[in-house]
Symmetry: D3
Amino acid sequence: MKIKIITPIVIKSFRFDREEYARRIKRLSGLCEDTEVEFESIKRGPTSIESKYDEVLACPDIMRLIKEAEEDGYDAVVVNCFGDPGVMAGRELVKIPVVGPGEASMLVASSLCHKFSVVTVLKNVVPLIEENAKIYGIYSKLASVRSIDIPVLELHADEERTVKALAEEGRIALEEDGAELLILGCTGMTGLAQRLSELLDVIVIDPLPTALKFAESLVKLGLSHSKRGFPPPPKKERII
Amino acid sequence: MKIKIITPIVIKSFRFDREEYARRIKRLSGLCEDTEVEFESIKRGPTSIESKYDEVLACPDIMRLIKEAEEDGYDAVVVNCFGDPGVMAGRELVKIPVVGPGEASMLVASSLCHKFSVVTVLKNVVPLIEENAKIYGIYSKLASVRSIDIPVLELHADEERTVKALAEEGRIALEEDGAELLILGCTGMTGLAQRLSELLDVIVIDPLPTALKFAESLVKLGLSHSKRGFPPPPKKERII
Amino acid sequence: MKIKIITPIVIKSFRFDREEYARRIKRLSGLCEDTEVEFESIKRGPTSIESKYDEVLACPDIMRLIKEAEEDGYDAVVVNCFGDPGVMAGRELVKIPVVGPGEASMLVASSLCHKFSVVTVLKNVVPLIEENAKIYGIYSKLASVRSIDIPVLELHADEERTVKALAEEGRIALEEDGAELLILGCTGMTGLAQRLSELLDVIVIDPLPTALKFAESLVKLGLSHSKRGFPPPPKKERII
Amino acid sequence: MKIKIITPIVIKSFRFDREEYARRIKRLSGLCEDTEVEFESIKRGPTSIESKYDEVLACPDIMRLIKEAEEDGYDAVVVNCFGDPGVMAGRELVKIPVVGPGEASMLVASSLCHKFSVVTVLKNVVPLIEENAKIYGIYSKLASVRSIDIPVLELHADEERTVKALAEEGRIALEEDGAELLILGCTGMTGLAQRLSELLDVIVIDPLPTALKFAESLVKLGLSHSKRGFPPPPKKERII
Amino acid sequence: MKIKIITPIVIKSFRFDREEYARRIKRLSGLCEDTEVEFESIKRGPTSIESKYDEVLACPDIMRLIKEAEEDGYDAVVVNCFGDPGVMAGRELVKIPVVGPGEASMLVASSLCHKFSVVTVLKNVVPLIEENAKIYGIYSKLASVRSIDIPVLELHADEERTVKALAEEGRIALEEDGAELLILGCTGMTGLAQRLSELLDVIVIDPLPTALKFAESLVKLGLSHSKRGFPPPPKKERII
Amino acid sequence: MKIKIITPIVIKSFRFDREEYARRIKRLSGLCEDTEVEFESIKRGPTSIESKYDEVLACPDIMRLIKEAEEDGYDAVVVNCFGDPGVMAGRELVKIPVVGPGEASMLVASSLCHKFSVVTVLKNVVPLIEENAKIYGIYSKLASVRSIDIPVLELHADEERTVKALAEEGRIALEEDGAELLILGCTGMTGLAQRLSELLDVIVIDPLPTALKFAESLVKLGLSHSKRGFPPPPKKERII
């Protein structure tokens, strides 16, 4: 099985060794031995996604990569951003599962607690995540969306600071908002779940690994999104 | 006052005389004498919007036109499509009101009846409109979204057929779904409200005129969207 | 166009010069040049509306004025109270639009932000406003209803105190309740929106002007409430 | 214990012997031996309630009777109309329980089934009942509100016809709307529950008896509405 | 009339004189003179109910007692626990009303205020009560569920401490959560309502008496749960 | 990895060869090579689950098996029934994931369509499944629950009849209820998904395999239910 991870940002310089990073992600996701993951990022769009505007700029190239993934024989696609940009639109274009980390982790969280909170980067994206929760149908299980006021591209500049900020907001979510579980609200935070979990003694969901495992499960179960719900766009001229 | 109408499709050949069309729209909208409206359409994107995919392709150029409208001194922007593509994202970029015909007409409808239905073009866009109603917060007033199975670009090929199909679906909405009022679910249907209203003896909302009048009202009242809710996207590199 | 503003209280002595007040309201509302507004108040009822009981006492005479407005050729009616007393019942009696400032401003607010709060006079009317939001179908966008504990008839005794109290509650709404926009929750506060807006740097909706402009827009668009939803009361004897 | 039943209509000629009717109602309600019920009707208002307008006209005199009931030592008040006109407002005026047949029967129904339907007189009052269900907080248990198109004052002109019409609409509610229980949607139908129940083999709630027993229970339990939620209207001049 | 109260715990040593306790409960409930109540407790199960696990262990023997109650000619059954264990299942087995104190008191509370809170024993049962409120359909009227961190079996070890803890949490519910009325969230607290009510000057609902009076009312009205909604379990082998 | 499948019924004679059945289930579930599944059924309880009563009887022994599974080193537990009996209670007892096929398949379905329907055995269990959907928080995505009127133990007596009945109800769900995807509403239907899918050309979710894969994914991701949400039951005496 091959899963394509589409990172919906223009990456100027990659922080990690690509192959090592893929191995690490695969390990975090607990994927089956014979499942391959490959990362690809868009060529046109923002360098991080922190607004509806960023999503809008990233989406056309996400469409291209989703279509290519199916043509290239990938079994599933994961869009590597918690806001799930282009996931709904992309499902119209292909038959293979298109999975969003926001949706996958919120659904998995729903099965593990009565109420969960999301801790994300900037205040700007809070309404966006709340709207997604409404559309995904699990808004009643969302205790709150909190933000740490650190932009995506600075999350790893000082990991201590990031983890500390996550712990602070996470603690409020648990103590005041009634959350019983936390979700990292940005796939740029991938890998920080375990430390946060230990600090707060609570289950923390890492959205990218969760989405990958969710996608792999769909393939193994022979499931994909309903084409009745996501029919192919009518044929007509489109100037891209 | 000047309102820019952004038509989010690539128009290959315009059906009408532009100025006459603007006059007609202005009359349908009941705009004040001294309000000017100007149409502009995108350069890259689909030739009609009938899927999430079409929306995604149209959005980047809508962003450009929204920004230009503010820079050019327009007082408000209306995106000329019932799905309101790019409206939320566009609000992040400017301070002038950005109005969507879907949202404006559903809110106005809410104040005129207990339950309303939308009659749109293709089945494909039904979930999209329902999701918008959820995000706009007035889903509980939506009786149903029905479709007439005629693509946008064929709506005016045989207007008799279109009106007849609207009347058929509209009648079911009134009699079976509990609707007390109808909304035309595509701005390509602009101008057909009156005939449908007479056929079914029911209030019918024409979304583009309603959005224009709504936008003009906001300007007159000195209102616009909250920048706390739609903050400017953080500064950073974006490859467009 | 002529709009009748029905003030649903018995006015013992009018604070302002009537004509000057009408001009001021017209200016705040941004009405078209040729739109005339006329105020009329009820003869029997309370001297302010601060309870369901007050609403109940005011309603019969509101009915009379709504019917007279249509007979006298008015194009629309606005009931000058945030609780919208008699608006639903009045729609059964006439074909011209009957607009409530509470409903109009909450619907307009819905299109300008993700969540808004209402700041009203007394705690007594908080449930009344929340119930209206439920019936109007936009309860999910209401962050909170807060009160300043100043009765209607004292709002202008010390405007500084009133504005200060509005700012205090408004700030809590913005900072703790998640509101992105405020609505003045009493038409007795008409004219205070701008100062509050400047103090808190947030959009503030003034409900009476918003309702007037909303009513004018409906007339210009040729729209009114659905008679299917608000059918005329059956004919029979009524002892009034 | 003494319960006052306020009939919110002007009764021109009473169909029944008053005392016999009171005994019959008491029997239907299963009241305790020593509970007295007394009927009183309003002096100004409509001759039946079939619209919001009718409610509005009836309410001021209902207020008077509610206040008098408390002054006269009654232990509770029931407003004899399924629309519960004046119930919320009346609670502001007194400390004794003010019970509405609509609310009481919908709450009792909630405890007896998963979904119930209301069968009422005219289509006009359907939205009114649905709005009440929203405010009462049990809208999710309401399968449907159906009407038999017979005005209140004709319900007993041909009881066979009324029962037959109730059975027809009731059957649709059970078979198509998913109702498991029916509520008579007008206190003018009092006494018809048993026949309908036998015809359709389903539990049928008779709202006036249910409200009376509910009111008696509140008194016996020492309960009444919260004065925090229904505070006394502020003192001020009111021209009645 | 005879009502069976099923206490769903194994009672090792009864705190009170049984007959005196029954008289006290009858008085608190305001039951009619000729209504008899009898207590019976399960033989297998937990010694108190403070988790879903406890409910699960108690339920089979509750089923047995519910069936026996009907066979023995009882007119109604009340399950003596705020979590209403076995109430839904028990309704499938009998035609007589099976009433739960949680459901009965939340429905009665709904009719007495806009929002109420429940104050219960341990944090463990908070989600359980919230889930019940969702199923009962009145979740929108629930302001909060708060807990005092005192186990059921220690409630009466130091009644002063219990009442003080109830007052503390109750005060927060009233002041911060918007509650207008309180419900004791454990039938082990029976009898403490009046003191709490006096301390906080608010209506407090005692769930067991409320359930008993509710059950008696159903019998007097000739009502019971719908067998369409709670059909008898299909016949088949069951190893008990 | 080892997953215990707890079948919550007393099995008198097993239809299949146990090991072959386990292999088949493993294949349907697409489990990893090295994941072992083992079936165990309860000793006391019903022979099928078709009512709340059946659930109640099955639950105590399910508790025992869940505890034993953890003690025996299993990594996760799946309760083999669509109604998810004992799943919530069982989570209080252990730290390993306890997965219900109803919850897992409804959550997975939520990510694959806008609206789905469940097709189950008897009408009796329809409210039970709807209540679960409310508690799981995804009720807004449930188009309908339909039943085929064939008891669990007769599902395989005539598989043609069963598949035909599923197709009939499934078709109505797709055409009239707005479903875009179907879920088999009974784990006794395991293995019939593919045929139904082919007949109706729609995605069909088989709940037991979906739950197994879901459970395996949780283990691989290092996730389990929140102990803050499902705390261990307080220690005390319980007579089992």
